[in-house]
């Protein structure tokens, strides 16, 4: 017999993601999923951003990596609660791994949660983790062709950070070409240019995060 159905391949992940989101909603926590290629500057961005946020909000971080706890150590050095999720070779985080990570964090009283995904421009984009907002980091060092090469990564982003802008003058990165290609797949996302050496754009980033609707509510 033939069975006609329409079932999402990732339905199990999507259900776990919905559970995560509901739980975070109940606790009044806004969650950001940070995605980008390896070396795009996701951890450096958090290092620049967290000191500004932690005075105003209770912040925590889930660090996804294939191996090592190096990134988690960098976050812990800022005196921000952090849990390392090691995927043991897996190329992306999924909602179940995040669920396990959440169980190791003190969630009560928390306002903001950042989940730094595994450095990879392809696979992580497929998996909803239960986040409220998606931040994609594209570094100048990677090249301006990445929005065309990895459209799914950019398609569902709420914010796109162009990082390492201090390198613009040393590379052939064409900013207007990158922005033009981003707009082919995403006409809505906010774009912020940053540089963690001079902290350019970090105030703007902090304001964007602080403008989230769940924040400021009791």
């Amino acid at each position: 017999m033939k069975i006609e159905v329409v079932r999402k391949v990732l339905e199990k992940n999507d259900q776990a993601a919905q559970q995560n989101r509901r739980r975070l909603d109940e606790l009044g926590i806004t969650c950001f999923n940070i995605l980008g290629g390896a070396g795009s500057g996701k951890t450096s961005l958090l290092e620049a951003l967290l000191p500004r946020l932690k005075n105003k909000y209770c912040v925590a971080v889930l660090e996804g990596d294939l191996a090592t706890t190096r990134d988690a150590e960098r976050i812990a050095a800022l005196d921000v609660p952090v849990v390392q999720i090691l995927t043991d070779g897996g190329c992306h985080l999924n909602a179940t791994l995040v669920q396990q990570g959440l169980s190791r964090l003190e969630l009560v009283g928390l306002n903001l949660l950042f989940v730094e995904n595994v450095g990879n421009p392809i696979c992580p984009a497929n998996f909803d983790l239960g986040e409220h907002r998606r931040i994609v980091v594209l570094s100048v060092a990677e090249g301006d062709d990445k929005p065309s090469k990895y459209p799914l990564l950019f398609k569902d982003a709420d914010l796109i950070v162009i990082s390492k802008c201090d390198l613009l003058e040393h590379t052939r990165f064409n900013l207007s070409a990158a922005l033009r290609d981003i707009r082919c797949v995403n006409s809505q996302a906010r774009v912020i240019q940053t540089d963690t050496k001079t902290l350019r754009g970090i105030d703007e980033l902090s304001q964007w995060v602080s403008a989230e609707p769940l924040l400021g509510k009791d």
Binding site: E4, V5, V6, K12
Partner: protein, 116 residues
Amino acid sequence: MHEFSLAQSMLEVAVSEAQRVGAHHITRLKCRVGDLRQIDGQLLRDAFEVVREGTVCEGAELDVEKVRARAHCSRCERDFEVCDGDWVCAQCNGLAQLLEGGDELEIISLEAEVDS
């Protein structure tokens, strides 16, 4: 290389469908995969061959139907299918924006042998 975990997820969907209809064997699965997912159809079939072993899907064929994204060119108001990541409108050379589709990832049919 996310094909393997996607093949695993496809198997889980197929197994639960088999239980739902009381099938003892699934012989064929058909899925729709959007181009923007950047999934290699052959790799997906290879991965499925590995994960299906010893399950109700043992020996089942996996058909992969690729779906292209549709884009809209605002300069000449034309809609077209995006091929190979090319967003340039063939009519006016303008750059088009994503209209719909390209991110499909679903099982759309199964062929099953049911206990009589």
